[in-house]
């Protein structure tokens, strides 16, 4: 029962606008948002894969869709989401192995995740989309 009383007195702050997320926290929420977005775009991506592999005509159609300026922006965002989820995921796997769990190391690795995922996005986007 003593434990219960302690639990009840725990401070709670869920006033989201007043919470300043540190970089690893921003990384974490983008990891979740990017995962959800990638899930929602799965039918589009499967359609793209199917069209690109079915016939020369459907390949051309898929290429035309990908070439549309609006689709390029969506796909660039998608590539960034994928790369962020990929890099942040590798960081989480390392944290699971107790690599870089100290505060400084965890802050540094989240900076690296942002730098590497944005760099990869720009490189892949430049190669594939433009």
């Amino acid at each position: 029962m003593a434990e219960m009383a302690v639990k009840k007195r725990r401070p709670k702050n869920l006033d989201l606008p007043t919470i300043r997320l540190p970089l690893p926290g921003i990384l974490s929420i983008i990891h979740r948002i990017s995962g959800a977005a990638l899930f929602l775009l799965l039918p589009f991506l499967l359609w793209l894969l199917q069209s690109s592999l079915t016939s020369p005509e459907s390949f051309a159609a898929a290429r035309a869709v990908v070439g549309h300026p609006l689709a390029k922006i969506v796909l660039l965002g998608l590539i960034w989401f994928y790369m962020h989820h990929f890099c942040a995921g590798i960081r989480y796997l390392l944290l699971d192995l107790h690599k870089g769990v100290e505060l400084e190391a965890a802050r540094l690795s989240s900076k690296i995740v942002f730098a590497v995922s944005i760099a990869l996005t720009l490189i892949i986007g430049a190669k594939v989309l433009w």
Binding site: R32, G35, A36, L38, F39, L42, P43, L46, L49, Q50, S52, L53, T54, S55, P56, F59, A60, F86, G89, I90, L93, D96
Partner: protein, 115 residues
Amino acid sequence: MVNRILVGAHYGLKDWIIQRATAVVMALYTLLFLVVVGAVGPDSFDAWRAVFAHGFMKFATFLFLVSVFYHAWIGIRDIWMDYVKPDGLRLLLMIATATVLVGYAGWAFQILWRI
């Protein structure tokens, strides 16, 4: 008194491991894909199709996609469990998620083995 817990994430450890195992499969495939596409540089239908017509690449791509779907199931289910409190709605969303993902797996198989 039988103190059996009927709800809650008692299946957590299994899912925790699967989430990481599928992540490793997807990460390795991502590297494989970037290397293969980077090396082949497929810029025509025939060249692109040839990449996936190769037996190993076809199998690896299917393994990747199945990992994506299982990984997505655990991730999206966690999102529903975090933000959707009414049990009925949460169950509905979970069933819908699982259903589309199983459908996607069938679709992915059909895409790859029709090549």
